[in-house]
């Protein structure tokens, strides 16, 4: 895997989170009934950062949840490796809430599709909005994000890697050459 470009650096990363937080607050006219739900694994940490940022803007903390969509995936039969499931941790009833679903990269849209199904099984929210750090295109589902950190047009042979301090010891977004594509 070779790095082709660093798209967002640490400072840009912080600014992007700040902007996304503001947009979420603005669109929802505050944070009344807003629940931020991060998708495992990296979405979970981005959601946490957004929640913290909103807290510092609004002085009130929105609810936070973590969603694991493994059980809703559509690729069990085609993947070579069995995905590991982890626990979904959403302690509140999401019925009648405004959900902001947070993930790191929006690509084919299949993970979001799985997340929507999973959320519907958890309750009946009034709305679900999608917030992603990077939208790299190549959608296979009719899905559009409500909040986008950065749109990066990519080729199919490229991959977007989001690195986070919580897991990867740095904040940043890279465009890399994908070794497995082109098969």
């Amino acid at each position: 895997m070779t790095i082709k470009a660093k798209i967002i650096d640490e400072i840009g990363f912080g600014r992007t989170i700040t902007r996304l937080a503001h947009e979420i607050v603005e669109k929802n006219k505050g944070i009344q009934d807003v629940v931020i739900i991060g998708m495992r694994t990296r979405g979970e940490f981005i959601a946490k950062r957004i929640q913290e940022k909103i807290t510092s803007i609004e002085s009130v903390s929105p609810e936070l949840g973590i969603l694991d969509v493994t059980l809703y995936r559509d690729d069990f039969r085609t993947r070579l490796k069995q995905p590991e499931v982890s626990v979904t941790n959403i302690s509140i009833d999401i019925t009648k809430k405004h959900i902001v679903l947070v993930d790191d990269v929006l690509y084919t849209g299949r993970t979001v599709r799985a997340a929507l199904d999973a959320l519907m099984d958890l309750g009946r929210p009034n709305s679900i909005q999608l917030c992603v750090l990077v939208d790299r295109g190549h959608r296979e589902m009719p899905i559009i994000a409500d909040f986008v950190g950065k749109s990066i047009p990519t080729s199919i042979n490229e991959e977007v890697k989001v690195r986070l301090k919580e897991i990867d010891e740095e904040d940043g977004v890279y465009l890399v050459e994908s070794p497995k594509k082109g098969l």
Binding site: L71, F76, K81, Q82, T88, A118, M120, D121, L122
Partner: protein
């Protein structure tokens, strides 16, 4: 994290990593069971046959629920006794079921060895729901899950299985599974109910129930039945209760920190008093809920294995 095993026949020889994976994955499903919609689409399009050659409403319901909650298509096939006596051989029955393109078979049978036999004649993934007096691996896994949930660990714990060990499928699975996870397992019961050479498995034998209570962290209390040959293993249920029954008095006198499990159905007043069965030491109903989660975990891990 994939399992190394393709079938779940027993816990004998199953590596600790596999057991760990099953227990950890069950935690996810335990959470699913708390949701308003307790169902996930994971095994959509998979067909699972519940092949019950012996009555066991509880185990069957638990498996069926687990399958349904994973969105698998399920078929129940119940028969009692040898199929051959009814004109079709067991093998033909399996061949027929297999021709219907099933992915997994959950099997309960009076004869030990049937699940293993199935792996030789069927391409489906086989899950043993109890074979003779051999193994009942999902029961032991749910016991282990429940103990871990309550005590936070398995390693180093002392667990005593109490009752008719010789006729029990739960005892062997408990012994194999718990030993693999680093626990010490012992058995307690009248010697007529202890199978030969069980001490060769590294299992201590108690015949004094008070001592078993005082020297262990967990008791797994088995159901006592007066079998067809009444009076050959134990004289009466009353005598069993008086000498081996789990009573509040015995617990309070010997070990107030004890944790009590029972695979059900409970024979109140025989192996356990109502006071204990409904009291603070036991986690019997947790076991039932955990049973569904454990079975979902096993079905998921084997059903999506590549």
């Amino acid at each position: 994290m994939s399992l190394t095993i393709k079938h779940l026949i027993g816990l004998h020889g199953v590596p600790s990593d596999d057991i760990q994976t099953i227990l950890d994955t069950a935690k996810t499903f335990r959470e699913v069971l708390e949701r308003p919609i307790k169902k996930v689409p994971t095994l959509q399009g998979k067909t699972i046959v519940n092949l019950f050659y012996e009555d066991s409403t509880r185990t069957r319901i638990s498996f069926e629920l687990a399958e349904k909650r994973l969105s698998a298509d399920t078929i129940n096939f119940s028969k009692s006794g040898s199929s051959t006596k009814k004109g079709e051989t067991f093998k033909d029955t399996i061949r027929n079921i297999e021709a219907m393109k099933v992915d997994m078979i959950v099997v309960r049978h009076e004869s030990a060895g049937v699940p293993q036999f199935l792996t030789r004649i069927s391409k489906a993934s086989i899950i043993n729901a109890g074979d003779g007096r051999h193994e009942h691996p999902t029961q032991a896994l749910l016991d282990m899950y429940s103990i871990r949930e309550r005590l936070g660990k398995l390693k180093g714990l002392k667990i005593c299985v109490i009752g008719d060990i010789a006729h029990s499928r739960v005892a062997l699975s408990n012994i194999f599974g718990l030993q693999t996870m680093g626990a010490q397992v012992s058995v307690c019961g009248p010697l007529t109910m202890i199978p030969q050479n069980i001490e060769s498995l590294g299992v201590k034998i108690y015949t004094d129930i008070s001592k078993a209570i005082s020297e262990n962290d967990v008791l797994n209390v088995l159901r006592i039945q007066l079998e067809r040959k009444a009076g050959t293993s134990i004289p009466t249920l009353r005598e069993y209760h008086n000498y081996f029954g789990i009573t509040a008095e015995r617990i309070e006198k010997n070990n107030k920190d004890i944790l009590i499990l029972h695979p059900g159905p409970i024979n109140r007043g025989v192996e356990i008093t109502s006071e204990v069965a409904d009291g603070p030491y036991q986690i019997i109903l947790d076991q039932v809920t955990n049973g569904v989660a454990i079975r979902m975990s096993v079905l998921y891990l084997l059903g999506t294995r590549q």
